[in-house]
Every structure is written in C-alpha cells, then in structure tokens.
Symmetry: C2
Subunit: 368 residues, 2 copies
Amino acid sequence: MKIRAAVLEQFAEPLNVTEIELAEPQAGEALVRLEACGVCHTDMYTASGVDPSGYAPTVLGHEGAGIVERVGEGVTSVKPGDRVVTLFSPQCRECIHCHSPKTNLCLAIREQQNKGYLPDGTTRLSRDGEPIRHFMGTSTFAEYTVMPEIALAVVSPEAPADRAALFACGLSTGLGAAMYTARVEAGSTCVVFGAGMVGLGAVAGCRLQGAERIICVDMSDDRLALARGQGATETWTGGPEVVQRVLDETGGFGADYTFEATGLVAVMRQAVESARMGWGLATVCGVAGKGETLDVIPRYLITGRRVAGSSFGGVKGRDQVPQLVQRYLDGDIDVDPFISHRITLSEVNHGFELMEHQDGIRSVITFS
Amino acid sequence: MKIRAAVLEQFAEPLNVTEIELAEPQAGEALVRLEACGVCHTDMYTASGVDPSGYAPTVLGHEGAGIVERVGEGVTSVKPGDRVVTLFSPQCRECIHCHSPKTNLCLAIREQQNKGYLPDGTTRLSRDGEPIRHFMGTSTFAEYTVMPEIALAVVSPEAPADRAALFACGLSTGLGAAMYTARVEAGSTCVVFGAGMVGLGAVAGCRLQGAERIICVDMSDDRLALARGQGATETWTGGPEVVQRVLDETGGFGADYTFEATGLVAVMRQAVESARMGWGLATVCGVAGKGETLDVIPRYLITGRRVAGSSFGGVKGRDQVPQLVQRYLDGDIDVDPFISHRITLSEVNHGFELMEHQDGIRSVITFS
C-alpha cells in the first residue's frame, strides 16, 4: 500500500514527508494505522547524524499509538481494532531477559532491529523497489506501519491516542525509572534532575510510589511549574551548588533516590554525589554523548551509594504499558500538560524546531 | 597501666614499638587484652602519610582479636573473659543506619572515631601526660586496648584468636561483599578482580552463596592458587583483555556479579564493563587513590549494569562477625591459608615490608 511518511533521506537535513510503499504484515507482524505520535529527542538525535549507529534512508518516529488494521500469520496477541502503543523495547515473553524480573531488555529481535530490519531481516518499507529501513522497529512518523506483534502493547480503547502515545517512550521511561528501576519506597526523599518528558515522568513515578519529598531541578521556570503539577514538592534552579544544597537539606546525608534525566554527564555526577550515604541510589536515564564518561569518586560508592541505569524505565512493555495507561485513565497520572503542541505529519520538522528551542514538553503528531 | 604498643610517631617512618600509658575503660567501654592482630594495608597506608585524613602520633592496628579484661560502667554486651573481634565499623543497634537492613555504616561514634577519639572525645592512650590518639577506634598494634563496647563482636571462644582476627577487617570485607552487599544468587557467574585478602574473601563468599562459576583475576600465580583453594573455578592472569574474555566466555553478556578488590580505578572500570547486560552488579571494595575517579560509560548503566560499593563487606559487625566466625568453625571457610607469616609486635615493621613485597596474604601479630 501507499503511505505518507517522514523519511530521513540525509543526516542533518529536514525530514522529507513523502509517499512510499508499505508491504503487508508477514508472520508474527501487524499492520498498525497510526493515530498519534510524539516527537522525541531520539528522533532528532538520529536525524542529526550524530548517533554513530544511525542510518538513512529510514522512516523515523517511535512514540506512536494507533489501531491494528490487519495481522500476519500466527499473530495471537493483537487483533484488528485493538488500540496499541508501539514499543521500541519489545517483550517476547520467551527470552532469558523476558523471563527475568530484573530487566526489560528483550533479546528476541534486538540485532535485526538495531540494523533497521524486521525480525526476518527484511523491510516492509520501500520506494521504487528500493528497501527503506525501519527505525527502532517502529517507524511511526507515518500513516501506517508494520511491526512485530511482540512490540505492540494493547491498551484500553478508552485511552485517547495522543495521550497513549506518550507512554510509548518518554513518559513510561520516567515513570518506570522511579517505579520499576529504582522501586522508590514510600516516605523517601527523591531528587529528579531535569524536567523534560522523562524527568517529569520520574516526578510522577516518585509520587505514585509515595515519596515524601520530591525535589525537581531544572533551568526552566516553566518546566519546574509543570514539575509541581506532577507532584514535585520543591523545585530548584539547577547549578553547581545543587549537590551541597541537597546535603544541607537532608541533614548532610543526601537523597534516598536521585534521577538524572538530562543526558549530561556533569548532571549524572551530581545525581551520584547527592545520593544518600548508606543506601542512596542514583538512576541514570539520559543518553550521554559519545565518548563521555560519568566520573565517580569511588569513596561515594564505598560509603553506600549505588548507581543504576534505566532503559525505557525498566518497563516490560506489553505487560506494563497497559497498566500505566490504566493508571492514567484512573486519574493517577496527569498526561495532558505534557502535550504542548499538536501538529500534523507535514509539520514534523517544525516539531524538531520546537524541541530545539525547548518550547514545551512534547509535540504530538495527530493523523486524521 | 603501662602497655607496649606500635606508635606511628612520624609519617613515612617505621613504627616505634614502645611503652605508653593506657587508662581504664570509661562508661560504655571495655579493656581488651589483644591475642592477635593482622597487618592490613590501611595501617600501612596511614603510616605512609598519603591518607589525607591521617594523624600522628597514634597507635595503629585494627584487625584484632582478644579477651575482654575489664569493662566500664553500664557495659552489658561484653564481659570479662569474652573472646572478641575488634570492629573499626561499629554497630550501636540504635542509629538510623543500624535500624536499616540496607547499610552497616553505624553513625553513633563516626565523627569522634575519625578524629582519633573515643566517643566522649578523649583518648585512653597517652605518654608522659600527652594524649595519643586512637586509630580507627581500635589501635590494636598493642598489648591492650580500650574500645567502645559497640565496637566489639563477641565470637565463639573456640575460635583461635589468630584466625578470628582476620574477620576484623579483610576477610569479612570480602566475604560480606559477596554475601551482604551483592547478595550473590545461587547458580550465578562471578568475577573477582584481585586475590588479596579481600578478593580471596569475596571468592569464598561467592562459593558460600552457591555461585556456579567463580573467575578470579590476579597478577600472581601464588595468589591465584590460593583463590582456587577458596573456590575459584577459574583463575586468570589480569590484563587489559580480561573484559573481552569475560564477554567471550559468557555468550557476550558478561558476569552476573563482579567484584573489585585492588583499589585501582582501571580495574574498577573492568569490573563495571565485564558485568552482565541486563542485571550485572559491579561491587567496588578497594580504596582508590585521592583524586582518582572510576570513569563509567553511561551506556553500560542504561543497558542494565549497576555499580555498588562495599565497606567492611556490608557486615553488621556485632551481629554478623560472630556468624561468619561460626561458619569458619563449621568448616565452611578455610582461614588457615590466609596466614602467611606469624610475627611479634616488635616485628610489625617487618610485616609492612612483607606486604610491600606482596609476600603472602597476611602477617598476623601474636601476643604472648
């Protein structure tokens, strides 16, 4: 079928919204009609050409929600009409990682996905007979996509697609970092560095876990206002003095849980150094630049701090994204304030511009 | 009373084994007659003057075992005749840390101890009326010492003092890193970097936890032979290729648990990078040089590795040192091979020399 999609033709060039071909779903795959898709930093990062593992041409987009239209042979977990959230982090429920409660990093299709292929090593996307590679296994800057069923989370049909889409990446990453990676305990003190989509999700996750103090640190007053809306009990402007301030305000100990959601290694270091002596856990969520390192003074470790990282918030997508969406429907998570702009697929490059200017939290593409 | 003790008079000079004064135990304190004391790197490190928090004059020594002779007012947990192991890491059982299962870093007397004083801010050691400061709250390079009762673990009288002494620091640190900090799971793959006292203890701890593969890495064949005796299933000579070798031998994943027991930040980095994707935990036990940092590529964290540190193996001393000593008496831990040299107090400087030449694992001072 012919579809309109935003193609990354050349790194560091605007995406080309154009017509391409999408083949029918094969065994284990589903055709999804996209209803909404968030514009995320990872899309822009790949488009910029800075990501060494990037490739072109490809159809970007991974924060999608839509409706299953048709399924390939042997598909049992989704059916036409299901509302689904796309998962760049799939869950096969069969590999050693899916069987472990310790990780969400499903191994089933990792290699092919990283290379831009569906699990069978081919693409469904093409143009003039030339294959176009998939991106993150999702390619949701498009009217339709074909994806493996193990990468589709069936969510409540009551969830509006534009809100559901945010659970496909940034929001779940933040929520999960607090809920599944750090497993924040009730009554604890948390510091969240960064109030973008992930940081705000982490603030909400800390609140859902029953944290007593949630300090959110960012450079933008507008974002800090959003953080208060998500449950931050204190909001601070970032800077080099933040570590000392955390110590001063916690009897010299530091915070039980800290979260880094900026991608800056200097801030990751602040997260480590403001974590509590004895048991403080610093959870790194951001993606650092190539070649950069988080430099840890070993004494911070010896005196009881731990450092962890979180990919997609440790969320096992097919099991837990529907649960998180349900918590939104139950009124536990206030998703609306995250949608700062609604745009069309043709305006996707404008979505990148808004992000570059840190204008709002999320632009969401809606398809009609 | 007059006692013989090894006094650090000047940094970077040999210890002076001489007669000094020891006052009677005050409230909450006990007089201990030392029977044995290991010579540990921390003693030598402080003697060298490199430790910025060091001071002189002081009586070094912290890996001690002995017999309680007299107790001060209000002492209830030890009595004359008890065999005790000295704890540089005390356990008051009352502070917020002692109440938490997450840490062994008792807060009760930390500040005074770090400054060289007993909890009341004074010393029991003196010479010609001039106070001599205590070291690590223990000062066990001496015929007798006075210590807070919260820093004495009562162990089985059947435990020979020279063997029991090793549980006062190095051995418990290694055992505990595996048993209490990392909580190694049965069937797992472990890599221990360094086969000194701490690393060998970690090997034994991994074995006690039921690890399936225990790889020990060191530069010395003699030490690696000792590691095999403690339960290492494989022993490798260290070098820059070790990380790749761990990956190669674990299907590309890495080890479930890694332990660093060298104090070298480059080796700490190897411990992080050879920990398993998804859930690998790297536990840092060694004390790095001042100003050195462990440089972590954040991607290792994001893909599921965690980094922790361990001080005294996470062992809550009064509760758990007696349990560990009992496991030795039960035949679960083979302590004898760790004692490479038996020396007298007068030979303490020779003990430092042996350590500098990496001759054996532990010199133990025995008192008669």
